[in-house]
Symmetry: C2
Subunit: 235 residues, 2 copies
């Protein structure tokens, strides 16, 4: 696995031909390989991804609230989802990794794959403009967006959080009503979801207490999955 | 203050003339006024703002790391900063607010102003494409980006966090070394910043323990400022 495939192959798979191949190379370079690595591009690319997916969800789901769109996006752009997309592109085969990362299987590590994928989106923006990056992101994520069943994806955040915590023998979250204001149908409920033993507390608003709790639970679950990626293990 | 100024004036000040004035109207409509309100547009607009500012900082500060760029951006797009930009545009005078919000000074509330400003960016993207939205965001934020002194803005996150907490009689944060890997000069330190009594814990990586602590402190301070906007009060 120490043969790195030529980056041009990847450009073809992505459907974007780079005017400046140095941008492509930098997006594929991990910090363990060179000081000209992909972390700054990843910062920009993460924002491209978030914007394009936000717009696509806005258009695809006119009936969903801001909070619901935000939860759907979080599930589409979390590290595990990005690593899956990167895996389908065989992105790991194109990465420039240092000796240590190569030996320890860095080309399969979800965080490294997700970061490189985001860096690619940033590199395309610099290379050919926002619409070019948008086209690539949309092509990669369209099947996932089309496959979303919002009622299924959104209904069960509290249950999913509970299952995640139980699998790790962590005490269940507390839900706290923090604020309630306005009159029906424009009432707003703000709820906190606190997982004391892990130092996590999220907050969310909703038109009902139930909706706000679901949103806060989804946010907490996203935070936990980013912080502790991978399979269940006891804390 | 119950006279709402015509939205077209604002469009002129922003430098964008809307092809679809309904988008402009929706961006200026708070949920207390109508069910066709600005929250979904705000979700998209927030992502436009983050992307444009990310790119502008990337270009302006080639020497800064991803974490440093991220901290600078957080300071530029936090609620208070957005409310200032909105205030300079007199955005409050154009908002459609419900009776209750009008009476309680909603047109001056930072969260309402910040949300409407973001919604405008989303509306411009839908109205005329990303580059149009990018041009408006860049014009509004260029003076602030040009005014950044990175060494000053980045140096003092731990001090700033400490001051924020002391002003509220909250116990000082603990900094925990969570991970240390790799060999110099590619070492990575991961540090946690825990403010137990407020249920806040942030994590950040850096090339040194000091840099990681600063980044984690900046992140914690951003979280706290978003959660508890406004002046100091005891908890």
């Amino acid at each position: 696995m120490s043969v790195v495939l030529p980056a041009e192959h990847l450009a073809k798979v992505l459907g974007h031909s780079f005017s400046d191949p140095r941008l492509l190379r930098q997006a594929l370079t991990h910090r363990s390989f060179s000081s000209t690595h992909n972390e700054r591009l990843e910062f920009v690319g993460d924002s491209v991804l978030n914007a394009v997916v936000a717009r696509a969800l806005f258009v695809a789901f006119p009936q969903l609230t801001e909070g619901e769109l935000s939860r759907l996006r979080a599930s589409l752009v979390c590290q595990d989802a990005l690593a899956e997309v990167a895996g389908a592109l065989h992105l790991g085969d194109y990465l420039n990794l240092g000796e240590g990362e190569l030996k320890s299987g860095g080309h399969r590590r979800p965080s490294i794959l997700a970061d490189a994928l985001e860096a690619l989106f940033g590199a395309i923006w610099f290379d050919a403009g926002f619409e070019a990056a948008q086209a690539v992101v949309e092509r990669l994520f369209a099947p996932r967006i089309a496959g979303i069943d919002p009622s299924r994806a959104l209904k069960d955040a509290k249950t999913a959080l509970q299952e995640w915590l139980q699998a790790r023998r962590v005490a269940l979250p507390q839900y706290l009503l923090l604020r309630q204001e306005g009159d029906s149908p424009n009432q707003i409920f703000e709820v906190g979801c606190r997982i004391e033993s892990l130092g996590v507390e999220t907050r969310a608003e909703g038109a009902s207490r139930r909706v706000a709790e679901q949103a806060a639970a989804a946010d907490a679950l996203g935070t936990l999955k980013d912080r502790y990626p991978g399979k269940a293990k006891r804390f």
